[in-house]
Amino acid sequence: MGDATSPTSHEGVSPRKGGPAALLITANRVKNLVKEDTEIKPLSGDACFALGKATELFLESIAAKAAAHMQVAGRDAALEYSDVAAVVAETEALDFLQDIIPQTVKAAALLPAMS
């Protein structure tokens, strides 16, 4: 992952600005999200960083897995919802996402069963 020295850029995509310690999902964002859940104990500074970073890594990993589906579907560089939904369906660890990222089915496929 040698992208540590990509310069800051807003138009293009900078894969990993600033090296591994840089955080896109910043501590403040994490705190705001966690505030919604009143049962949660306070977070240490390191824990805030860890949560934000874990989420970035999580999303990157989903993207990479979804890319495999994208390729199979014959698309070169255009990720679609169905790719993401496929990853969620096939990965046990992602079961908690099944309700919000369901696989969609074309009506045509279901109508024969319904009639």
Binding site: D3, G12, V13, S14, P15, R16, G19, P20, A21, L24, I25, R29, V30, N32, L33, V34, E36, D37, I40, K41, L43, S44, D46, A47, F49, A50, L51, K53, A54, T55, E56, L57, F58, L59, E60, S61, I62, A63, A64, A66, A67, A77, A78, L79, E80, Y81, V84, A85, V88, A93, F96, L97, D99, I100, I101, P102, Q103, T104, V105, A107
Partner: protein, 176 residues
């Protein structure tokens, strides 16, 4: 088995989730898109590509990932919270987060996260070292200006040319 609500366009169900959640966008689409693209470029590079290809990410895919990210944070935090509570500690630590990742079957994220944490802690040590040095210098210059109201550094330099009772303290401070 796919949910029947899913017969609607995916963006409707995804948007319903977003609206039902926070008022403001806690994980903005632009940010999520950037992270997803970074993941795609890593995948591309690992597969032998140049890692610079510009990927498109469909709007519904971005929304789905945004919701996934939010839910992931809640899920991970709640799990870390449980570990913390069982250990009867008052604050969730980074170690609790690492443990939670393992517990939730995201073990593959543990090593990269540890590496990032090391870099983060190292950076913070650097920053606090610099802060201590800067405040030491500031304290030294304040001592030199003792008796003069709101002195800046220019005044201090002028003082150095005129020997004063307080000068030795300033010289000592400056020498360090």
């Amino acid at each position: 088995m796919p949910a029947t609500e899913a017969l609607d366009s995916p963006s409707k169900s995804a948007e319903a989730c977003v609206e039902g959640g926070a008022d403001t966008e806690v994980l903005p689409k632009a940010l999520v898109k950037r992270i997803v693209k970074a993941g795609l470029q890593q995948w591309d590079a690992a597969a032998g590509g140049d890692g610079k290809r510009d990927f498109q990410v469909n709007k519904d895919a971005v929304l789905a990932c945004s919701e996934a990210g939010k839910l992931f944070i809640h899920y991970l935090t709640a799990t870390a919270n449980d570990t913390c509570r069982e250990a009867r500690r008052q604050t969730i630590s980074a170690d609790d987060v690492l443990t939670a990742l393992e517990d939730l079957n995201f073990g593959e994220l543990v090593e990269p996260l540890k590496a990032a944490l090391e870099a983060f802690k190292a950076e913070n040590k650097e920053k606090s070292k610099k802060r201590v040095e800067t405040s030491k210098k500031r304290k030294a210059s304040v001592t030199a200006d003792d008796g003069l109201a709101a002195a800046g550094e220019q005044q201090q330099q002028q003082q150095q040319q005129q020997p004063q009772a307080v000068a030795p303290a300033a010289a000592g401070g400056e020498a360090s």
